[in-house]
Amino acid sequence: MSARVFVPGDAAAASVGADEVAAAFEAAGATVVRNGSRGMLWLEPLVEVETEAGRVGFANVEPAEVAAVLSGEHERSIGVVDEHPWLRSQRRVSFVRVGVVDPASVADYEAHGGWAGLRRALSLTPAEVVQEVTDSGLRGRGGAGFPAGIKWKTVLETVSDQKFVACNFDEGDSGTFADRMVVEGDPFTLVEGMTIAAHAVGASEGYVYVRSEYPHAVAALRRAVDAAYTHGYLGQDILGSGLSFDLHVRVGAGAYICGEESSMLDSLEGKRGEVRAKPPIPAIQGLWGLPTAVNNVLTLCAVPMVLADGGAAYAELGTGRSRGTQVFQLAGNIKQGGIVELPFGVSLRELVEEYGGGTLSGRPVRAVQVGGPLGAYVPPEGFDVPMDYEALAESGAMLGHGGIVVFDDTVDMARMARFAMEFCSIESCGKCTPCRVGSTRGVEAIDRIIAARTMGQDVSAELVLIDDLCETMTKGSLCAMGGLTPMPVQSAIKHWREDFEREGADV
């Protein structure tokens, strides 16, 4: 009998050679399952071999090591993967099946608790489903943290012959990859979450907007959608309930701004991805002017569990007004990068130092950017802040999509501030002046600072100018792109002013 071997098909695993490793196992006669990644990315390619004791993992496997893995003699065995302390200490809800199941198999999904949420939802009225989601306290995981139940209630109560569900899978923030990994590793969860959403708000058509930088995810999702149609989880009269729901996968085209929900809607409509002024809100006038529930991937992927186990069970996790779990993504200059899913309230220190194990370079941590390119830079003194929406906002930062990017002490924070402005100037949709012009002026001002500091000149007047500019961008921009770009810039100036005043030592 040939051994059953799991070699992740996840893009991150593939980026360090998993495809070649999978081919080598197949050539050796093993039965290979291309699972998702467990999220311990520093161990990829992490190969698992099915044994009587459980699935035993082997880290950083190379094609030439296949025989050693199959004979159990490979030196980098990490033991039974489910018992690995990095995983065991987590509370995986959205990621419970990622890396475990075969993402291509509907049967495997069902065997691991899949479709239970949808079955229960279909036994409830739309209003009851919305109530469950409201009771769960689930908030939008894209970054804004808006209560999902309230959004759905608005769509449900807006009268229209045609409504839509739209999933924002334009995960463009550097340092975030949870949406990608959940869809590559467990795509049926998103299909199930969207189908539940369709029932809850009265939508008959749904769109997933995936960024084009994620070809693995596009393929996994399209395969899952096709399988869901084949097995009656999408299409007409789903599971005999009378619900009809068609799900379309659409691909973005390399514009960061399309992660902003109204830009995404315009892009889905086949237009330039320009931000819309609000109101009207998408829940009332979204796609093609019709009521649309727009949610992030992780929000929708939490929904099946909320319905399967009840809103109260989900609300038991978390802290304050941040209920449930958050999927943190440890990235950048970090020793143990990957996915850490925990109830809200864990400290940044625990994530960076304990889970992350410090920097990859082995040098001291100097800064951490939380929440993507529009998030604040936090110095080590601020690492004890609990990771929830309110506590972070109070400390002048934001959770965003849960990305945590670590920098060591060689980072030049004036350069990072400049990059924040540069990124905004490149990716701005151009509709509003504070963002379009402000970011360009911001780059120029920081360039002047960088030139001046080299010569030891006074930069205080430029810093005042940047502060003014940031205020204009914060208050005058239509969306978070221009509105939040000041966050990384001003946090860098606040905590690392010395980087703006003098040239750092060359490292």
């Binding site: 893009a11 084009s212 085209a253 514009a255 330039r272 993504q329 950017q369 060591d408 990059f419």
Partner: protein, 151 residues
């Protein structure tokens, strides 16, 4: 990718656009298919697409030029795209990008080097794609090894 004679090209673009006529918001899928099939979107393609989808040429042109993926010039034979996102910068992506741009000619005769902002591989940076394939933990040496066949 092969060079398609102009008249055949127009017919092919019209056929692609026609396939998507029933889709809501068909323009983006049409443009993706045109780039996939023909490598880029030409001026004539824009006119053909506008005609089939009943849009103005200006509308289609506006969309083509808004999105980076809808290139208007034919691609080079080989392509390198390196991530310049913050996570990759924290492990040296800026220097790698600058150096790779400077030395593009060393990688092959017809190689284009471009920047990209995040490939979702932020724990294994510096990340990039070589002819569309994702790679992590890139360095100058690794890029040289992976592109050996280009020279």
């Amino acid at each position: 990718m092969t060079t398609v004679p102009t008249t055949d090209r127009v017919a092919l673009v019209r056929a692609i656009a026609t396939q998507h006529l029933a889709d809501r918001g068909a323009l983006m899928p049409v443009l993706h298919d045109v780039v996939e099939e023909l490598g880029h979107v030409s001026r004539e393609d824009v006119e053909a697409i506008a005609d089939v989808l009943n849009l103005s040429v200006a509308e289609v042109h506006g969309v083509v030029t808004f999105y980076k993926d809808f290139r208007t010039e034919p691609p080079a034979v080989h392509a390198v795209a390196l991530c310049r996102g913050e996570a990759c910068q924290s492990v040296g992506a800026e220097a790698l990008y600058a150096e790779t741009c400077d030395r593009a000619g060393d990688l092959g005769a017809d190689v284009e080097v471009d920047e990209v902002f995040c490939l979702g591989n932020c724990a294994l940076g510096p990340s990039g794609t070589l002819d569309g394939r994702l790679h992590g933990r890139l360095s100058r040496e690794r890029i040289a090894t992976l592109t050996e066949g280009w020279r």
